[in-house]
């Protein structure tokens, strides 16, 4: 109850802070590890690094080739999300604004994709991508993410468009604009709130995905961050300081983006699923 800050509120505050400290223990262990030299790791596993050494970071950055991995991840994530937004919003606009048996069946067909686990088609798709010569390419990954994430994207957009009044496009179309122009200039700007949600949910999912990039990009030189980190950690398993530095560096970019955009990210995750 928000009836002022009472002693009970203080107790609650202290309990929650204690929970947060316990929650952060693994992060503390990892970050301090990254700043320690092997001798400190062996003798003082839980203390603060004294003196802190930053040598592991440069070495981890090099060994895991994180620079190019970040570039690959960014390229694949940005392209996939752009294609998803364009294809998803266009399809949803048709599905939401057409009252025919065809559009209803199509909508249901897209919904099936939300509950269909991709493992069922995993092997035939791998062969298909191989036959198309897209294994180990950016295009293959962008195609994959677009197809896999379209059902959810179409679902979010369709729900949102149904709640919009129809009048805007009608006016533009009577003025003689083509359907694509009416969509691009009139409808799409109105979709901004749901486009934000679509962007955040898809970007986080694609950035962090592991299974498919491992299969499709392994050994191609175009590996994304999680795939490089996986290979790097398995190669240097026993060098704890180096592994910890690599993990910290690899997690840092998305954590920074999250801290800057925290309100939007949390809102996207908590609202997008209500449909």
């Amino acid at each position: 109850m928000r009836t002022g800050y009472r002693p009970r509120t203080l107790v609650r505050e202290l309990v929650m802070i204690a929970v947060a400290i316990m929650f952060l223990f693994p992060v503390y262990a990892l970050v301090t590890l990254a700043f320690k030299d092997p001798e400190q790791i062996a003798n003082k596993p839980l203390s603060l690094p004294d003196p802190p050494s930053v040598g592991s970071f440069g070495e981890a950055w090099q060994s895991a080739s994180l620079g190019s991995a970040l570039l690959n991840s960014t390229l694949i994530t940005v392209s996939s999300v752009v294609v998803l937004i364009v294809l998803g919003s266009l399809a949803a606009y048709f599905l939401a604004r057409t009252a025919s048996r065809l559009s209803y069946s199509l909508y249901i067909l897209f919904l099936v994709g939300i509950i269909l686990p991709f493992q069922l088609g995993m092997i035939p798709l791998y062969q298909l991508v191989n036959d198309m010569g897209l294994l180990g390419t950016y295009q293959g990954m962008i195609l994959f993410y677009t197809g896999i994430q379209l059902p959810f994207t179409v679902f979010l957009y369709t729900g949102f468009i149904r709640s919009l009044p129809a009048d805007y496009t009608n006016a533009a179309l009577i003025d003689g604009a083509s359907h694509l122009q009416a969509f691009g200039y009139v409808i799409f700007p109105l979709l901004r709130p749901i486009t934000g949600t679509v962007l955040i949910l898809n970007a986080v999912h694609i950035w962090n995905d592991f299974f498919t990039p491992l299969l499709y990009l392994g050994g191609s030189g175009r590996e994304t961050v999680p795939v490089r980190v996986f290979a790097f950690v398995n190669e240097y398993t026993s060098d704890y300081g180096l592994v910890a530095a690599g993990l910290v560096l690899a997690a840092l970019p998305i954590l920074l983006v999250f801290l800057v955009l925290q309100r939007y990210v949390i809102r996207g995750f908590s609202s997008g699923l209500k449909g």
């Binding site: 505050e13 929970v19 693994p26 399809a91 509950i115 092997i123 896999i148 359907h179 122009q181 980190v229």
Partner: protein, 310 residues
Amino acid sequence: MTAITTAVRRDAAKAPRRRGGGITPPWFFAVPALVVYALVMLYPSIVGAGSAFTDWSGVGEQRSFVGLENFKQLVHDDQALGAMRNTLLLTIAIVVVQNGIGLLLALGVHTGIKSRMALRVIFFAPVVVSPVMVSFLWKYVYNPAPDAGLNAALNAIGLGALRQDWLGDPSLAIWSVAFTVIWQCAGYSMVIFLAGLEGVPQELQESAMVDGAGLFARFRHITWPLLAPATTINVMLSTVGGLTLFTQIIAMTNGGPGYATDTLSTVLYKQAFVFGKFGYSTAVALVLAIFVAAVSFIQIGYLRSRETTA
């Protein structure tokens, strides 16, 4: 808008006509999405479901129909049966504990405490990090050495007797993996419960308090029923997440020790890409798909019935 006004002159003759209350967008808007979706999901899934009844080895197109042979093999395959059991245990543990903790965090954060915004960010942060990295972080925490990670921490607070080989002990490993997933995703449950809590009217709580309802009674009769939609979403998300668990297993235990932490997803992956038994692998995938579809349908039906009675 200038583009639209120039278009007026150019396309005036082709202006689409009104039909009924609104203008129907052209069908070709849906075509690109449908083509990509059909290529990446529908077609491979149909082929996959079909190959579950063949002896396809994955090399070339050579495959022959073997009926239910793969499924017969499956019910006698200790690794696959163990994986099915592990998948169900992991899913139950994750659904119950992750959502329980998520709810407690949400209730704790949804109060007048000063640190609530910072706490929200802290508890949610692991959600945006790759499960691969979270798994490796916990793999270090679970280090079997007595003077590292969790064991060192237990020792430091005088609980040295509780030190374990967290991932190496076959009866413990699966719960250690489950806890990693719970640690990463509890913040996700929390923000969905928080969105639900924001919809609980303050006046209702206050009038119940005036009527003498205690904290628990108010939760039981006001908050909990109003959290029904958030609960359904959380249960659904964590169920599907648990049933398809893969990355955390591969990164932390690779299914071991023995088969102690194999899940349906890791088994079908190994059968296909380690042993080259594609037909058998897709049979396992079909079982997984049926699990996921069944759970989704039950939960969607439950959600609907709840919404109509509300």
